[in-house]
């Protein structure tokens, strides 16, 4: 490390941060295309994108929260509850567009409630309110349905999860739309940039006049909103609002964000990285499925990838001078 000029080390470290996850994704894709003749086909790549879509949406929301040095454990349950409410509304004859809005609103409002509980009740860590919400929302989803899935949804609603435009599956289009939106929000708007400031140093952000509480509530609300969007996609794809939808999804979304290079300590993280993180998980699962590797091995591999991704980041930070 001493042999390397400081500017070179910094540039290498920066390149690794920006492109490390992407490089890993490409290496993985290259390896899988050698191992399975089915991997590198258009149909399969669309499969990967479709299968990664819900996690990618949740991860975008999770990213905005992790940037603020927070965490949102409730996204999987909010997805389940939004799923169920939308399906119930559809069964009651509510038009599809309104059911979509209901799912999004459910997520956003309960997400905002997470933020309000965290900031206004001064709970010690976002872990607490979102853990509470995780249980409350899941419980409500089960209570409302009595545990039964609500299936056979109308096709205009299913279009969002199962339809396609010009051969491109709707879930992919929805993910790309939100990626662009979140990228612009996080990099080009004051509230978005404030989130990085809060994650970097909350006290300093407060002293600089950032309305910290309002921004945090916004971040959690966006995370909830993405859970609602994920619900629309999943319910459409599965033709069902099932109360156990999204069990464990919060951990997958956190994994995608971390694999994508965001820091748990806040202030660092990009939309591109997160999207790549979600795709790495999707490619791994898909590739291992194609190779007929059992789901149990898949969790082992994904666990190892999470640790490896963070380890690379730690090594990078140690190597980077002046940090």
């Amino acid at each position: 490390m001493t042999a390397m000029p400081a500017w070179l080390a910094r540039a290498a470290s920066e390149a690794l941060r920006r492109f490390g996850p992407l490089l890993a994704l490409l290496l993985m894709a290259a390896a899988l295309s050698l191992l399975s003749e089915h991997f590198l086909t258009l149909d399969n790549l669309l499969n990967v994108f479709r299968q990664s879509a819900v996690n990618a949406l949740l991860a975008l929301g999770q990213l905005t929260v992790i940037i603020t040095a927070g965490i949102d454990l409730s996204v999987g349950s909010l997805l389940g509850l939004s799923c169920v409410l939308a399906a119930m509304a559809l069964k009651a004859g509510v038009p599809s567009a309104a059911a979509v809005l209901l799912a999004l609103a459910t997520g956003a409002v309960l997400g905002a409630l997470n933020g309000i509980l965290f900031t206004k009740l001064r709970l010690p860590h976002p872990f607490i309110p979102t853990l509470g919400m995780m249980n409350v929302a899941r419980g409500l989803a089960l209570v409302l349905t009595g545990g039964f899935p609500i299936s056979e949804l109308p096709s205009p609603f299913r279009f969002w999860g199962a339809g396609a435009v010009a051969g491109i599956p709707m879930p992919v289009i929805v993910v790309l739309f939100f990626c662009v939106l979140f990228h612009l929000f996080l990099t080009r708007t004051t509230p978005g940039r404030d989130l990085y400031a809060i994650g970097g140093n909350r006290q300093a952000a407060l002293l600089c006049g950032v309305p910290v509480d309002r921004r945090l509530i916004l971040a959690y609300s966006l995370s909830g909103l993405m859970a609602g969007a994920g619900a629309v996609i999943l319910a459409g794809r599965m033709n069902s609002g099932f109360p156990l939808a999204g069990v464990g999804a919060e951990l997958d979304s956190i994994a995608a964000v971390i694999i994508g290079g965001a820091s748990f300590f806040g202030g660092v993280g990009t939309v591109l990285g997160t999207l790549v993180g979600a795709l790495i998980m999707g490619v791994l699962r898909n590739g291992l499925n194609l190779l007929n590797v059992s789901a149990y091995w898949q969790t082992v591999v994904i666990g190892a990838v999470i640790v490896a991704a963070v380890w690379v980041d730690v090594v990078r930070q140690r190597a980077a001078p002046g940090r």
Binding site: D43, N47, V54, S240, A245, L290, V293
Partner: protein, 310 residues
């Protein structure tokens, strides 16, 4: 075989280099069995029966895959999507959901892949056939045993698996067919425990708190029954509460043998798996497939339990 493939995959990931291309030149008949999970003896035995059938047909290449848990329906859908893409010769599926699984089965149909349904029947008219048991009959057998064991009087509860799935609904429906005709029996309800052992124990603890005078419990699979058994034992109620399970895995049969459980409705998962693959092979070859194959059930009690341990 699977391990070797997996290790070579890891090597490639680490080295980032080329891998040996492992292409089978002979034309193989690819059959894929996708179960709800592989985390219990039932599924493991079903799998071994399937592998047995595959061994008898050297041209068949069988893969058995499953999501991590029975509630991970989306993971099962993803596995099926990936297999459909590989244009396998036939799929045998134990559906983790009902309506949730049909869209992806339609994709299989569009790709011309015959789908055989295993264990849990679904209302999908295009299935090549069904191999499993009459779950309603199994539920009735459990109920008849309980009615006899408690002399037709007292409180009875059910611990059940995921809601909305045919196997579970049918077992419960069969159970209620019998129970509700007996005036002395008070049915206190069916509590879900997702077919998992730990949840079965929790639910049983709650039932015992709520109904200290409970006389009998029917758990709609072994795992939940074994969990419930622990909860009953923890309160020193073993032998005082009649406990009946479903599936008859070794652990449950042994529990019946030494009196910790009273009876268990037996399935014969090896036979289900074996027959499923035999039918799937027929489907793959375009031969006629039987539409509904009932493998049959039995009742394990202390008198005959030793026969089931062989």
């Amino acid at each position: 075989m699977r391990n070797r493939r997996f290790i070579s995959f890891l090597l490639v990931m680490l080295l980032g280099g080329a891998a040996c291309s492992r292409s089978a030149k002979t034309k193989k008949l690819d059959i894929v069995l996708v179960t709800k999970a592989l985390d219990s003896e039932f599924w493991q035995r079903l799998k071994s029966g399937a592998e047995q059938a595959a061994r008898q047909n050297p041209e068949v290449r069988l893969a058995v895959l499953a999501p991590e848990r029975e509630i991970n329906i989306d993971q099962q859908v993803a596995i099926l999507e990936d297999q459909i893409l590989k244009r396998v010769a036939a799929l045998a599926v134990a559906p983790a959901g009902v309506a949730e699984i049909i869209p992806v089965l339609e994709k299989a149909r569009a790709a011309g892949i015959p789908v055989l349904i295993v264990d849990t029947d679904i209302p999908w008219p295009h299935r090549a056939g069904f191999v499993g048991i009459d779950n309603r009959l199994g539920g009735r057998m459990a109920a008849e045993f309980i009615v006899r064991a408690i002399g037709g009087r007292g409180k009875v509860a059910v611990i059940r698996g995921v809601l909305g799935v045919a196997t579970q609904e049918d077992r419960l429906a069969g159970f209620l067919d019998v129970i509700q005709k007996v005036p002395g029996i008070h049915f206190v309800g069916a509590q879900p425990a997702n077919s998992e052992r730990a949840l079965g124990m929790t639910v049983m603890e709650n039932l015992l708190t709520r109904h200290p005078d409970l006389r009998a419990v029917f758990a709609t699979n072994d795992q939940m029954a074994l969990g419930a058994m622990e909860a009953i034992a923890a309160r020193n109620l073993t032998g005082k509460i009649v406990l009946v399970g479903f599936d008859a895995g070794r652990e449950a049969v042994r529990a019946v043998l030494d009196g910790r459980m009273d009876a268990v409705v037996a399935q014969f998962p090896e036979r289900i798996g074996e027959r499923a693959i035999q039918e799937a092979i027929k489907a793959a070859r375009g031969q006629p497939v039987e539409k509904f194959v009932d493998i049959g059930t039995g009742l394990v009690t202390r008198e005959n339990a030793h026969e089931f341990l062989r």
